[in-house]
Amino acid sequence: MASSDDFKEFYRVSYGRTLATVAALVGNRHEAEDIAQEAYARALARWSWLHRFDLPDAWVRKVAVRLAVDSSRRRRARLAATLRLAAVRQPQAPQPDDDLRYTPLGAALLELPMRERQVVVLHYLADLPVDAIARECGLPAGTVKTRLAAGRRHLAERLAQYPEAVS
């Protein structure tokens, strides 16, 4: 039977990895923490069967990535609404401590379309091979490879604007 202690240990060990993956997708640490914790809350509610999986962190990552992608879509919708109201709003000051986009890689990542960002993050940060990304995203492996190649090319172009980030 699944125990609360098992979950606590799983949570303690895997939280940082999940947080990093989500943060790379959404570019904001506070939002990433909220999403990661929501994913773990969902895992806790299903822990009695989830603990039987060989890799329950894969389930958590899948849920977290899905939440991050949804969050990104909602943010785009909010941004569109904000732009319509731009004439009557003051621009918000950037908050570097909170916002991961103020690093070369973070900034470059956030300029990628989400479909490319997702596969790039899963490949280079979560260390998933192409076939695993295909399974996790429900995409053909060829599509993953195409997006990965495009994402890598776009990332290199953007990172080239930050000489210190390119070795």
């Binding site: 039977m1 606590k8 949570y11 303690r12 939280y15 940082g16 990895r17 947080l19 990093a20 943060a23 790379a24 640490r29 990433a32 923490e33 914790q37 929501e38 773990y40 809350a41 969902r42 806790l44 509610a45 299903r46 009695s48 069967w49 899948k62 849920v63 899905r66 690093t103 890689l105 973070g106 993050v121 280079y124 940060l125 260390d127 399974r135 995203c137 429900g138 995409l139 890598r152 990332l155 290199a156 990172l159 980030a165 390119v166 070795s167």
Partner: protein, 380 residues
């Protein structure tokens, strides 16, 4: 910049985040509880609304309730109410987690009544509902492998009476992999398998509510029986995945009126219609149509087959394969009318009503989680 460089940059960039200590576990528990509460449609409001539930449910069953927000014509198969719900079967059993509270809800009004909570020491193992919408059978398994059964009967007034049944059944050391009740609510069928897959399983037929074992078929062939239903009073349909020779894979029919006389389940069944790609689903109550939820390319579809000939009758798109793959939510047919003409379906967050082939997106009273054996999540 090559792959190794890029991977190193990601590693360096994410190092501070990967080192972040997990926040206090109590916060996660509170979130999980809140989520469970949201999903389960909480009993607090439901308890307060029990009196209303009884009166509204009764009037809904009688077809007299009129609620704003949804207009149905006289020919509509759906109850007039805030949410689409079949006239014939407004009640649905739901549990949102293995150890959370189980409820029976009125799907038209979203009014729910809490039934029972097994707590942290047990799980809901299975649920079966009769097609007359008056009886739900629940199996609960404790950590000590003890399985108990309860019957939730819905009275004509709409109230729910919960009673322990089948006191004589002991399933120590076994898991329930399938459970079904015949349309009259007089027979209960269990598909059991020993924990750890050592030994052989069995298909067991009991009478209700007494709990006398009427017959049993040992299941010693390789593979698993995933699906059971009673298309007619005595016939049981089994979807068999034969992991050995494949000889028995597919839909098979067992006539439970013929005694087993010690024969195995494999030997006692005969092949049913050839429904290729059929990995989950059900027969309609009149036994004429088989409904199969399958993946077709990037889409999830429901295929309706003639149960007699296996002929494909129609295909209904219900969602995308990707939405299903990322989701713990159910994908398939939630409810079907006796002849299969009217359906309620869900795939991920997408829910639809289908009336004679016309598909309309709807928002049902609940989002249904996918059952994860041996944990039941809904019965309709």
């Amino acid at each position: 910049m090559n792959d190794v460089d890029l991977r190193e940059q990601f590693h360096d960039w994410s190092a501070p985040l990967r080192a972040v200590a997990a926040p206090d576990f109590a916060g996660i528990r509170r979130r999980a509880t809140r989520r469970t509460v949201r999903l389960a449609v909480m009993a607090g409001g439901a308890v307060a609304a029990v009196a209303i539930a009884a009166s509204v449910a009764g009037s809904v069953l009688a077809g007299t309730a009129v609620r704003p927000g949804r207009v149905a014509d006289a020919a509509s198969p759906w109850t007039l109410g805030r949410y689409p719900a079949p006239r014939q079967a407004p009640y649905v059993f739901i549990n949102s987690s293995a150890s959370g509270p189980a409820i029976i809800g009125n799907a038209a009004t979203r009014i729910a009544r809490r039934l029972v909570t097994v707590g942290t020491r047990g799980i809901f193992a299975a649920v079966a509902a009769t097609s007359n919408d008056r009886l739900f059978v629940l199996a609960q398994q404790s950590t000590g492998d003890r399985t108990t059964f309860a019957a939730a009967r819905i009275t004509p007034s709409g109230s729910v009476v919960l009673r322990r049944i089948l006191p004589g059944i002991s399933l120590s050391g076994s898991q329930i992999y399938g459970m079904t009740v015949n349309p009259a609510g007089t027979r209960l069928v269990l598909n059991t398998w020993p924990d750890g897959r050592a030994g052989s399983g069995a298909l067991l037929v009991y009478d209700l509510p007494g709990g006398t074992l009427l017959d049993s078929w040992p299941e010693n062939h390789t593979g698993t029986v995933n699906f059971q239903y009673w298309p007619t009073a005595n016939q049981l349909a089994l979807y068999w995945q034969d992991s050995g020779s494949q000889a028995y894979s597919g839909l098979r029919i067992l006539n439970t009126a013929e005694h087993s006389d010690g024969s195995s389940l494999a030997a006692a069944t005969r092949p049913g219609p050839d429904l290729r790609g059929y990995h989950s689903g059900e027969f309609t109550a009149d036994g004429s149509v088989a409904l199969a939820a399958v993946q077709s390319g990037r889409a999830e579809v429901v295929r309706e087959f003639s149960a007699r000939s296996g002929k494909l009758l129609r295909t209904i798109p219900i969602g995308t394969a990707q939405a299903q793959q990322d989701s713990p939510d159910f994908c398939g047919v939630l409810w079907a009318s006796p002849d299969g003409h009217d359906l309620l379906t869900q795939c991920g967050s997408s829910q639809q009503e289908v009336v004679n082939g016309k598909i309309t997106d709807v928002k049902l009273a609940w989002t249904f989680l996918a059952p994860e054996a041996p944990i039941a999540t809904f019965g309709w």
